[in-house]
Symmetry: D3
Subunit: 256 residues, 6 copies
Amino acid sequence: MRTDGRQASEIRPIHIDTEYLIHPEGSVLITVGDTKVICTASIEERVPPFMRGEGKGWITAEYSMLPRATQTRNIRESSKGKVSGRTMEIQRLIGRALRAVVDLEAIGERTVWIDCDVIQADGGTRTASITGAFVAMAHALNKLHKDRKLSKYPVVDFLAATSVGILENKEVVLDLNYIEDSAAQVDMNVVMTGNGEFVELQGTGEESTFSYNELQDLLKIAQSGITELFEAQKSVLGEAVVKKIEEARVKKGAKK
Amino acid sequence: MRTDGRQASEIRPIHIDTEYLIHPEGSVLITVGDTKVICTASIEERVPPFMRGEGKGWITAEYSMLPRATQTRNIRESSKGKVSGRTMEIQRLIGRALRAVVDLEAIGERTVWIDCDVIQADGGTRTASITGAFVAMAHALNKLHKDRKLSKYPVVDFLAATSVGILENKEVVLDLNYIEDSAAQVDMNVVMTGNGEFVELQGTGEESTFSYNELQDLLKIAQSGITELFEAQKSVLGEAVVKKIEEARVKKGAKK
Amino acid sequence: MRTDGRQASEIRPIHIDTEYLIHPEGSVLITVGDTKVICTASIEERVPPFMRGEGKGWITAEYSMLPRATQTRNIRESSKGKVSGRTMEIQRLIGRALRAVVDLEAIGERTVWIDCDVIQADGGTRTASITGAFVAMAHALNKLHKDRKLSKYPVVDFLAATSVGILENKEVVLDLNYIEDSAAQVDMNVVMTGNGEFVELQGTGEESTFSYNELQDLLKIAQSGITELFEAQKSVLGEAVVKKIEEARVKKGAKK
Amino acid sequence: MRTDGRQASEIRPIHIDTEYLIHPEGSVLITVGDTKVICTASIEERVPPFMRGEGKGWITAEYSMLPRATQTRNIRESSKGKVSGRTMEIQRLIGRALRAVVDLEAIGERTVWIDCDVIQADGGTRTASITGAFVAMAHALNKLHKDRKLSKYPVVDFLAATSVGILENKEVVLDLNYIEDSAAQVDMNVVMTGNGEFVELQGTGEESTFSYNELQDLLKIAQSGITELFEAQKSVLGEAVVKKIEEARVKKGAKK
Amino acid sequence: MRTDGRQASEIRPIHIDTEYLIHPEGSVLITVGDTKVICTASIEERVPPFMRGEGKGWITAEYSMLPRATQTRNIRESSKGKVSGRTMEIQRLIGRALRAVVDLEAIGERTVWIDCDVIQADGGTRTASITGAFVAMAHALNKLHKDRKLSKYPVVDFLAATSVGILENKEVVLDLNYIEDSAAQVDMNVVMTGNGEFVELQGTGEESTFSYNELQDLLKIAQSGITELFEAQKSVLGEAVVKKIEEARVKKGAKK
Amino acid sequence: MRTDGRQASEIRPIHIDTEYLIHPEGSVLITVGDTKVICTASIEERVPPFMRGEGKGWITAEYSMLPRATQTRNIRESSKGKVSGRTMEIQRLIGRALRAVVDLEAIGERTVWIDCDVIQADGGTRTASITGAFVAMAHALNKLHKDRKLSKYPVVDFLAATSVGILENKEVVLDLNYIEDSAAQVDMNVVMTGNGEFVELQGTGEESTFSYNELQDLLKIAQSGITELFEAQKSVLGEAVVKKIEEARVKKGAKK
């Protein structure tokens, strides 16, 4: 039994509040256990300089934590005057992951800005960010499509992420909270699409290593967790949007 | 009648959620109309270098906006690598205001870090931050006192803030929302204590000026609004805390 | 009696050297007691990007202190690589104040850069900067007008500033020097126009508060001090310029 | 057949020059195809502040590219005044990977600084850096051990890294050069220890995804490539050092 | 004849105002033609970390220009957030030059901070800074000696600097103003001591070169100019200080 | 006899590896004793903004040291977030020196970026950089000329640099290594052209001075060393290039 009473393969309670803020084109408050992240999607009617004139869009993400999202207060990155390596790694990961399920040509020369602001942290903030950001982005892009600004439906698959790990007692567990994460020997973030493919796999031995067999166990448990996340996303996206994404996925597959 | 249907001297609906986050010693979500700010108070068991050995504490504040708290997305200050003049002005104001109602010797060599993070903005974010931060700070310091770490009760008065202004039609109004604020000729932030004294008065003609008589009207309307804010604060602080603050205020007055 | 022998409502000796430097369009060395500030006004034939095409001008200010303007040496902000919150507050204040007495449309798409460099500091550097900068700016804009580059006279009123405060002994005093300022309970900067209106009012209790009645006393004494500053400005601006400003003020009033 | 004539599972020619520089405790020039990296290991007789007094050491890495290591010149990060997200990701990866094969308690309160400077780039610079840095570090730590400054042999396994990927034509290939890397659908960096365990696994679909079966193919081919890298490392480390590392590995396994 | 009517070997009028500011230990306003620099010397009762415990002092310099010291306004280095290469070169030069005529052991573990702030520029600002800074420093160190804080007289020689150059018409000239400097083919800064030795010689062909013979001409004319600067320094330092410096120079020579 | 057994006027062994890297238009590894610098020349088909439309080119240089080029590890300037004064001085020197032997009009609106990266340092890194950069630049520009992109041959003379100095024992020596440089009383960098003219002369007394006669000795020994450097450059440039440079020099002389 785990510190918070869960089974090894049990994910924490998930809740996704949609239309959480009035200004952004898409916004959610995602709660995974005690981890809470505000994810917003903003549409900008142009792309960064290096992409101009290519007729396709861009998705980029920023990630931050409130100073007191954590047990002890962290110094703001704006006060330090620079963004940490950890933050940069996470925001590159979120952006890359989302781009894998969007038809960038379909959104035209627009940028989708994703902002993930962790207001409370208890492990798994980067994976909760991806899972929540997908919903915010889907709302924002669905709105663009409804407003007849796009000729093709741009979201071509679902996307969710979780973490898995190997604890000090060698147990393979799903969705680590902060205490587990701090002590884990192996930590792996898995990002998957609705059709069961991987987008990102980042496994790290923390002053430790993992075998081929352990890897298989980690992947299996991750897949089961992500399936639950897809259910949570679909229930808040609503049937109409789910159907459109599934149709776009089929069309994309047909073309390949 | 104002754009949102209010009377000239009508404040927007106020709501203060307390114990909003699990980690900080004090935390609230304050809502004033469509403006929403997360205010946290964190206790650090030391003071900044320039105050060491003086036997008294310090209160400092930081202020930030989520990129999409506003109508259009703002670039993060952490990405720009520096904090804007506006942000610095606001965080200096919040810290200074709170220090006026705390007996810094009573808190010993500790720092109270106040973090005000605007998650949704519709005018009056700095005054909402002060009003909310007071409650978060009072909770955190009350806890320290209950834990018998302080010999004296440190909060010696209530503190709240609002904005008043003169619109283009020369009307003097209370608690400006974003649309009103953008077009106002005169904008004034007023911070007051529970016993009716001023802590800060910042009046600015925006490419305009104001007369001595207009100033009197602005102050009168501000006072009425702040009285309502004190009611909202007291109802969430609870009778026991309110009583302790009032006793501390009396004691301080007696000593003078 | 005050530390330097002045009466409570006595301003320090004022001296304004005009055409102090050969390169700027306007330049003064203003001396208020032992406080000395070089103020220059530079005309740039364009406005910042956010204002282009609007057919109006802009006024912006920068403020700095020589490292040894003060009792002990300060580290240069260029060495620290960033501008302090205090500096930003002051330069925003100076720019805002000057914009209140200039018809920005009359100056066309030009920027007036104001630079206030404190070479010796003894309290009141920000208010001396405003008072001196007004003269430097008036000279620079008068020159533009004389050169027939402007169709309307752009300076529509006089502008000066002083500080007032409440000392530890509760005495209300005018034009605080550094020793008084360090110990004052309340510090207030007042910026006024030639027709007796307020442009800025920034009153701050330093770990202290002030009552409505004290505020009235502060304002009264400030007004008397500013009247003396206007005399000093007018004597160096010369009759012709004073007359033009007064005519522009009347015209502007007539239009309202 | 690949652009440079290699088979899908063929690694590029590897060359490791040891004792490449006179000053560092360990230094190599590693060449993998046209990719050339200078890797140095420097011993500092203290640890970073957050680790003081814990009786164990630390390993940290920095990575950089000469401006003209690439086809077109890159701006120096020192000129830009900040380190890019990509660089931070890579230096965190190198440090973490090396720490997995070193007994940090055995090195005492010392820091091993690893510097990887790419003087010529043709894909795979981060994996070449890890492979080369291991040799530089092993030399530096071996020297410390020979000088009788360590009671235990600190290097407890071999470590090497390579990249694998899936090209546009769906072919799974080993050790991608720059042209292949730019066009690959999936890119995976694999870091392994001498006993066949994983330390890091970072697989990324570039606007693409990969299946469970493709993952197995990628891992298989990576393992074969890394085996060749171990041979290259062992031949330059020399029999005596190889033997000591293997003994340390056995001892560590025995203890578990 | 030169643009300002001078002979080739004629220096511009020199004026040195001493005790120019009330706070610094030494301060001058030096005027060389239209170039005006405020030079201050501040004594700090400690040395930088890298020199602690060596029983000797340090002299360091900072240099800056007011934004409107020049024909067109320059952006402040504090606004840019970094100090330019030109500024760094100049401040390193000033510090190094002054250290050559001070017995660093005689001043004990103190730092002399030199600040040179150009308020008006017309060529030769770095050499005017050195010449003025010497006087400010001599005053500050003389005061320390008079206060019996030093056992030995620390200033062991005079120091002054000028610029020489070769104009487009091949004429070798002394003390170039801004117009001459902009067009010169060769520019040379010469720093000399009272006994006729060189401290610094920095000659630069600006997209041009100079011969051995031209070098001799440049040095000769520089020497004559510096002799005049020594006269100006001596007249403001006063006989007593001049005598002490000359005695210290003789003693130092005797010891060699 | 010197610490490394050389005569006072003996230069260290010089070796220049050309075409050292595959990507840059010109690249060398220059070795002077134990000092090793990679110098590259990159051609960019545009000039910096301040030079656009003038029909001439620009040459600019950057200089850096690997962290472990030296006895003890230096912090990277990219980690510090700023470039040191020493680095700025050196890169300005290198750029300025190279511009003196290139006909900037002949290269058209192009920028030559010179990068000098010191991989091993033992004194004289800036002069080795100039000597090596000249060869890399000559190769790059020769290639442009061969490709018929330039109508005139742009390199109009040879360029090399060395250091000379006066040791503590008053001996005048050529090409100081690190140990000598650290203890030298006078240090002088001399940059000369193939026709025996000076481009730069930077002599510095390190808490010391030098006489007119010592200067003559320093210049004489510098000239002899630079002659050897020209021989080394010519032997790797090849007869054809040497001839073209000499012809361009004659033509330029003829025109004057």
